[in-house]
């Protein structure tokens, strides 16, 4: 017992000493992401956003040198994310934990942020409840209700009265379905049918046929990125369900540039809602896209990249504000209400919910210079997540 106490005392002293010594020097950020497994691509895009910010702004801020410690969760694994957060705090002595591409992983680690009193920057996980899990969480990505609730009411304003929803059968899809329907029906619209497709490798023909049979004015679609946008685009075109005969509404993943390329002509006229538009005509955005593609072998930034980029911006600005004080309480106070211009447009952090407030862009696929592009129809400024405080 005596021995154990002695060891613990020595260890505690060591930790205290190293923490004291570090205060002037390095600031460690633990980045927890699914670098391997099915979401590795998302993690790498997010990491590329972080790296770009560091490359542009150097790794020194307020007299502290930034050091990243990357940890892999290997897929949606909340228990692993939690353990990694635990280890980063107790073993690596990190000042900030960041990353979190997936909602379950952010939920798993939230408790550690509260217990260790560390700032936790959620750079993507997009379910509304994430920021409610700990007072130290701040989000720089997007929330699905934020995009789709305002999209629903916008659709009604455009004269659409009846819509059919077709979403992938998993958390984000269900959230998107619910928030689009909420925005749409609250404005006065009517949902005439709702279907859910399997997440992995679905054959859309049967689902699209049901939409065709219901013959609604508009169909709202949510599918994960990758191969599915092209598949559903083709299925819709095969059954004559392309604009202008029917309005096709969706969240931005459906018409991401890579998806547009494979969809070709069938994408024309699809209307999407998103917080980041690659093609947006803005000097800051163009410089960002140029630097990003140059650093990543021509790969274009996506929603993950911008989440990571702005997440780093938030960390830098918060550290400037606290003059290098990296305690969770100081940093979260500094982050509340912070506002800045990002390549995605103006954005800020809601002082109450610590969630991201940003412009939502409604875009339509049109042909520009012989290429299919997302053209911004309307900008809805300062959109907050509509679900905070509403449902518990």
């Amino acid at each position: 017992m005596l021995r154990r106490t002695a060891v613990a005392a020595v260890l505690g002293l060591g930790l205290a000493w190293s923490a004291g010594a570090m205060a002037q020097e390095t600031l460690k950020i633990g980045v927890i992401l699914p670098y391997s497994g099915p979401f590795a691509d998302a993690a790498n895009q997010l990491q590329a956003g972080i790296d770009l910010y560091l490359a542009e702004h150097g790794n020194e801020v307020a007299g502290r040198t930034i050091e990243l410690i990357k940890r892999d969760t290997g897929g949606p694994a909340p228990d692993v994310a939690r353990r990694l957060a635990q280890e980063l705090v107790v073993r690596d002595n990190v000042d900030i934990i960041a990353g979190f591409a997936l909602t379950p992983e952010a939920l798993g680690a939230a408790e550690i942020a509260t217990e260790a009193k560390k700032l936790m920057v959620v750079m993507n996980a997009a379910t509304s409840v994430v920021t409610e899990q700990s007072p130290y969480i701040v989000r720089t990505g997007v929330t699905i209700p934020q995009l789709n609730y305002s999209f629903g009411s916008w659709a009604y304003e455009q004269g659409i009265r009846e819509a059919y929803t077709l979403v992938a059968d998993y958390g984000p899809g269900i959230d998107a379905e619910a928030s689009f329907a909420k925005g749409f029906t609250e404005a006065g619209g009517k949902i005439v049918g709702a279907d859910r497709t399997p997440v992995a490798n679905p054959d859309f023909s049967a689902y699209v046929q049901r939409v065709a049979d219901a013959a609604p004015e508009a169909v709202y679609i949510f599918v994960p990125g990758g191969a599915q946008p092209a598949a559903i685009g083709k299925a819709l075109a095969d059954r004559g369900l392309s604009p202008p005969d029917i309005k096709v509404l969706a969240q931005g993943e459906l018409t991401h540039p890579e998806a547009l390329e494979s969809m070709g002509e069938t994408a024309r006229g699809i209307i999407t809602t998103f917080h980041y538009t690659l093609e947006r005509d803005d000097a800051m955005n163009q410089a960002y896209v140029e630097a990003y593609t140059a650093a990543n072998n021509g790969r274009e930034p996506d929603l993950f990249s911008i989440g990571g980029y702005d997440g780093m911006h938030l960390i830098f600005e918060a550290l400037e504000a606290t003059e290098g004080d990296s305690s969770g309480d100081a940093l979260i106070e500094a982050a509340k209400g912070m506002a800045w211009d990002s390549p995605r447009g103006p954005m800020s952090i809601d002082p109450e919910t610590r969630d991201v407030v940003q412009t939502v862009y409604i875009r339509e696929v049109q042909e520009v210079d012989g290429k299919m592009r997302n053209v911004i129809l309307e900008e809805i400024p300062d959109v907050k997540d509509p679900l905070h405080g509403a449902a518990k």
């Binding site: 021995r3 790498n44 990357k70 892999d72 949606p76 692993v80 107790v90 379950p104 998993y170 269900i174």
Partner: protein, 328 residues
């Protein structure tokens, strides 16, 4: 005249000899206490290893001893995890009773399913276990209101063990608790495999057709061990839910079922210590490799597995045992 009388006594002696504790075993279990003193910052990992080792033991009981090849055992792990998590969300966070209930629940489901399992063999058996695993996964995904779907279960809060030991951030309580459960389940499994029941299981594994010929009811044996194994897997899942306060669909995933078989093959099947050793090596290697390179660490695991399968067909422990036997 004497031989027929002394034969059963010899068998009992033989079993008794096999269940005698060797100094290596005592050393091994003493070594499991080392993280508390020397590696306190590795306690969360140690906790995860203890839980995975318990799960590996449950699979070893059916795969290594009874010869039931399964690729869907995560269903019981996940059932236990969700059970422990859900009762905690609904207000019962007492860990020990919650854990026992989780194990019992998984065991009951396991017993019901064992009637299906004992009807099929070989490839069909793999397909059935795989299919059941996927069905449970999709069921948990569909029961969004109960399980939280892909977002995972929220709001689990586990009360202190014995009302005294809070689950701290360093992981002292978590590892101590998981280690105690692992040790108790190990004692039970050790007793089982070194009993006449364990012998019967090995008989089934080696030649299922001859078992009825010697009057053994092999199906009821298989049903029993399957239910026990399911219950232990459920305990492991319950431990994960309680010590991390998280449960999500990954606890039911195919990857978890497959990883545990990889761990068993690494360590050596049909040996309880093989299950523990394999888990230890797999998870420590994974932790270290992923720390060095978070993107491509699976390459290292693949190499390790190939080396073991090529040069140590009976797993690392089987290889060590052969060296020891040669040295004697």
């Amino acid at each position: 005249m004497q031989t027929p009388v002394s034969a059963p006594i010899e068998a009992r002696d033989w079993l008794r000899r096999r269940s005698r504790w060797s100094p290596f075993e005592i050393l091994f279990w003493l070594a499991t206490l080392l993280p508390f003193i020397f590696f306190p910052t590795y306690l969360p990992l140690a906790n995860q290893i203890a839980i995975a080792a318990l799960f590996a033991i449950s699979v070893d009981l059916i795969l290594g001893y009874a010869g039931i090849v399964t690729l869907g055992h995560a269903m019981f792990f996940g059932l236990g995890a969700y059970f422990a998590g859900i009762i905690s969300v609904h207000g019962w966070g007492e860990p020990i009773s919650g854990l026992l209930m989780a194990g019992l629940f998984a065991g009951i489901i396991g017993y019901i399913i064992s009637f299906l399992i004992t009807r099929v063999q070989h490839l069909a058996l793999i397909m059935v276990t795989l299919g059941l695993g996927f069905l449970t996964y999709e069921l948990a995904n569909a029961l969004h209101w109960l399980t939280g779907g892909t977002d995972g279960l929220r709001g689990i809060s586990t009360w202190p063990v014995f009302g005294q030991f809070r689950f701290d951030m360093w992981g002292y309580t978590a590892y101590g608790y998981a280690l105690a459960v692992l040790f108790l389940c190990f004692l039970l499994s050790r007793r089982l495999v070194n009993s006449s029941f364990g012998l019967a299981l090995r008989g089934i594994r080696e030649n299922v057709k001859r078992m009825p010929a010697i009057g053994a009811d092999h199906k009821s044996h298989l049903r029993l061990i399957y239910a026990i194994s399911a219950a232990i897997a459920g305990l492991a899942g319950g431990l994960l839910a309680q010590t991390t306060n998280t449960v999500a669909l990954d606890s039911l995933s195919f990857e978890r079922s497959a990883d545990v078989v990889v761990m068993l093959i690494l360590g050596g099947t049909g040996r309880l210590y093989g299950a523990i050793l394999g888990t230890f090596i797999f998870l420590v290697a994974r932790d270290q490799l992923a720390g060095i390179n978070p993107q491509y660490w699976y390459f290292g695991i693949g190499m390790l597995l190939m080396v073991v399968v090529l040069f140590m067909p009976k797993g690392i422990l089987g290889f060590l045992a052969r060296i020891v036997a040669r040295a004697k």
